[in-house]
């Protein structure tokens, strides 16, 4: 066994997320890695809601099909999830539920929720009673829970009192059990983030000063967290404008005036932004755009996951225009790549899209915030405050030069130019001169080659010269990697390539790797195999063996394992 899985389910509004969060932090405190995903309907109150926690000795980023311990706050949880509980597993349930068909290989433990609520004269405490009982049955000391609760509820002392009391009662109501049977790591400095949180943290560490966003699942939390941050961060302006077109154009205005600017949305909102992405490219403005994919088209499945927007974001704009598209493969990379996005945007003055999806944006992983990218964000890249040396005869600043990427900010003496969406001369004047047009196209498009040289090349993971090479990107990467490891321990010869930089694309490295592969299998969470199409376009290599999924659900490791075995 490489992970211990706890699932907690109940109705929306019952504090299921809080229970999951408490359990996660207890295990993190004990030195484990935790991966936590959630599943919910597009309904605020009353829908069935569950969180799954995978506890492990090493970092993980995907779910499996088994559950070791089920915390069932309601009968729906029992009905829907009992079949996943392993032999020898345990179901803790609210004793007011009637259990119809019991599974003989599973231990059922009723918790007297109603009695406890009456005794303590409190409602809405079932979630913490369950947590208390669960950790006792896993042989964890109450003190660990107590200190985790104190950390989480440190601003709400009265609530902390009530919840701690409830958790303690739950703890006392339970027999002490055995542990989860996995060794913990050192009690290291692991942080617990979801993709949204890691992106927000990355943006802050990169010195973001302006964020404009119109709410949209799955990335609204970025807006919420930055808005909260801006209360005490005087350098950060956060605004919720009238629509996504306003959001991106405000961000472009702020960027032009010197802010480090970002916007975030999902595919629908990004559709509205498309024309302005081109403006950023043409006017050469730095901008970070977070695109959190969910299944389309139109409103699609608003709370589910899919990798369906890759082709779209790659070609989102009229004409040939330079932009960068980065697809982080896990929560750790959401952090690092957001920072990289700010750096590339500012240095090369163009839009950088960070492409994530619901699964990545909303599931939590233990990550390290250690500086994997060595960039000093206290300095500005390619911004000058003395433009005297770059004056043209007409007294304007040579903003759009073929040789460098220097810009002034408005307010700079001798730094005047026009920031232009029309084709323009080197000072930004409107022009239709074919020679200037050619030069400007080369100047703008030439950025991609330079950026490609700065980006780490894709690497092969697993055995060299393997029988099968798995190709994937984004949120499916963790599941694929786990399958590669599992197949490896079974003696199967397999490896994988995870594509992170979609534009610019490392054509020759990818061609090198894939042309040596014996059999290539493409794995994507979409209908048409969009990465496959990109690889075909760039390298000429046609990947015709695919595992594609587009039902709104992510791959579980077990599911993927079985599908790959069938392809062997």
């Amino acid at each position: 066994m490489d992970s211990f899985v706890i699932r907690v389910g109940g109705e929306a509004g019952w504090g299921i997320a809080t229970a999951a969060n408490l359990i996660a932090h207890i295990f993190i405190k004990l030195g484990y890695h935790v991966f936590s995903s959630k599943e919910y309907a597009s309904q605020i109150k009353g829908g069935h809601n569950y969180h799954t926690l995978r506890i492990s000795s090493k970092p993980l980023g995907a779910d499996v099909d088994k559950v070791d311990m089920l915390l069932a706050l309601d009968s729906v949880t029992v009905e829907k999830h009992t079949s996943y509980v392993v032999d020898g597993g345990m179901i803790l349930y609210n004793d007011s539920i009637e259990i119809k068909d019991t599974k003989s290989t599973v231990t059922y433990v009723p918790l007297p929720i109603t009695t406890i609520q009456q005794t303590l004269n409190e409602k809405n405490i079932a979630n913490t009673v369950f947590v208390g009982a669960a950790i006792k049955s896993l042989n964890i000391e109450y003190d660990v829970l107590k200190s985790v609760m104190a950390d989480i509820f440190n601003h709400k002392l009265q609530l902390l009192d009530i919840l701690a009391n409830a958790a303690h009662t739950g703890y006392d109501s339970m027999e002490k059990g055995v542990g989860i049977g996995l060794s913990a790591g050192e009690k290291s400095s692991l942080e617990f983030y979801n993709g949204n949180g890691a992106i927000t943290k990355g943006a802050l560490d990169a010195g973001i000063t302006f964020h404009a966003q119109y709410p949209m699942t799955p990335v609204s939390a970025i807006l919420h967290d930055l808005a909260k941050e801006s209360i005490n961060n005087k350098d950060l302006t956060v605004i919720q404008p009238e629509d996504e077109i306003a959001a991106i154009n405000m961000a472009l205005g702020a960027s032009y005036a010197g802010s480090r600017a970002m916007t975030a949305t999902s595919g629908g909102g990004f559709s509205l932004m498309v024309e302005s992405v081109g403006l950023a490219s043409m006017a050469e403005l730095p901008l970070v755009i977070i695109e959190g994919q969910r299944p389309g088209p139109a409103t699609g499945l608003p709370t589910k996951t899919e990798q369906g927007d890759l082709s779209f974001v790659l070609s989102a704009g009229q004409g040939d225009f330079p932009h960068v598209v980065i697809a982080p493969g896990n929560v750790q990379e959401c952090y690092t790549e957001t920072k990289r996005a700010f750096y590339l945007a500012e240095k090369y003055q163009l839009p950088v899209i960070v492409l994530v999806d619901t699964l990545l944006a909303e599931s939590f992983s233990t990550i390290k915030l250690s500086n994997t990218l060595n960039i000093d964000f206290s300095q500005r890249f390619n911004i000058i405050d003395n433009a005297n040396q770059y004056q043209m005869k007409n007294g304007l600043f040579m903003r759009y030069s073929e040789d460098n990427f220097l810009r002034t900010l408005p307010g700079t003496k001798n730094g005047i130019y026009t920031c232009a969406g029309d084709e323009h001369t080197n000072v930004g004047s409107i022009t239709e001169d074919p020679t200037i047009r050619n030069g400007m196209m080369r100047h703008r498009m030439g950025k991609l080659k330079k950026i490609e040289e700065e980006l780490p090349v894709p690497e092969l993971y697993g055995s060299i010269n393997a029988d099968m090479t798995l190709v994937c990107w984004g949120s499916t990467t963790s599941a694929v990697m786990e399958v590669v490891n599992r197949l490896g321990t079974e003696g199967k010869s397999v490896n994988m390539v995870h594509m992170k930089y979609m534009c610019p694309f490392h054509t020759s490295s990818v061609h090198d790797i894939l042309s040596k592969s014996n059999k290539i299998l493409l794995i994507e969470n979409n209908y048409t195999g969009q990465l496959g199409k990109l690889i075909m376009e760039k390298t000429g290599i046609h990947v015709n063996d695919t595992i594609l999924k587009y039902d709104g659900q992510p791959f579980t490791v077990d599911e993927l394992y079985n599908l790959i075995i069938q392809k062997w």
Binding site: I245, N249, S276, L279, N394, K413, T418
Partner: protein
Amino acid sequence: MVTLEEYNSTEKPTWCPGCADYTILTTIKKTLTELNIESHNAVLVSGVGCFAKLPYWIKTNGFVGLHGRSLPVAQGIKLANEDLTVIAFGGDGDGYSEGGNHFIHACRRNVNITYVVHNNGVFGLTTGQYSSTSTMGTKSKSSPRGSIEVSFNPIAVALASGATFIARVYVGNPSHCVDIMKKAVQHNGFAFVDIIQPCITFGKNHEYYKDKIYIVDEKYDWSDKSTAFLKALESDTGKIPCGIIYKK
């Protein structure tokens, strides 16, 4: 002292000879000069239309973005650096159709910028289709039997949306334009100026406006919103009141 020359560009405008946009160009230069704003501290933001080329032809910081989107850009600039004097430009097509949503919400948001709309009642750059401010029945290439839509009333919309400075001027009275424009730029909050202008190539000429345009008299109380609403609605009946219509 800032001089008018400081704002002179070496580029030559390509508007039709006699276009009212030349007058607006001069109005903006005079406004900035007379308010003693140094050219590197001003930013002119526009979208797409004939009007939108104005920033190319004044020597100051310019941002010529997309059709209908000057307002969000201008607000972003001001939020990023409040020391800049930011003037956004729109056209009746650009600002009232394509960017109509931004107009409503910029009025509500009250960011300290000036918004100037070149209202010529026609899509100039796309060669003369009727626009949202064309009078009902206007015949054009895209409305050969006459437009069937009620004319958009920007002053009333700005009032209803909470703008704190609302004015209208007629390009045929350049000194009044400069006078009002200076007050708009000095206003602390979102200042909106609708400039009625002929389009000598595709739209109405000065003759058409001559008897309709008048400047509100000195007794007019622009601080009262209900009075201002009545004034705003006058343009639906044929007369076009100019001057400050509302100021908070």
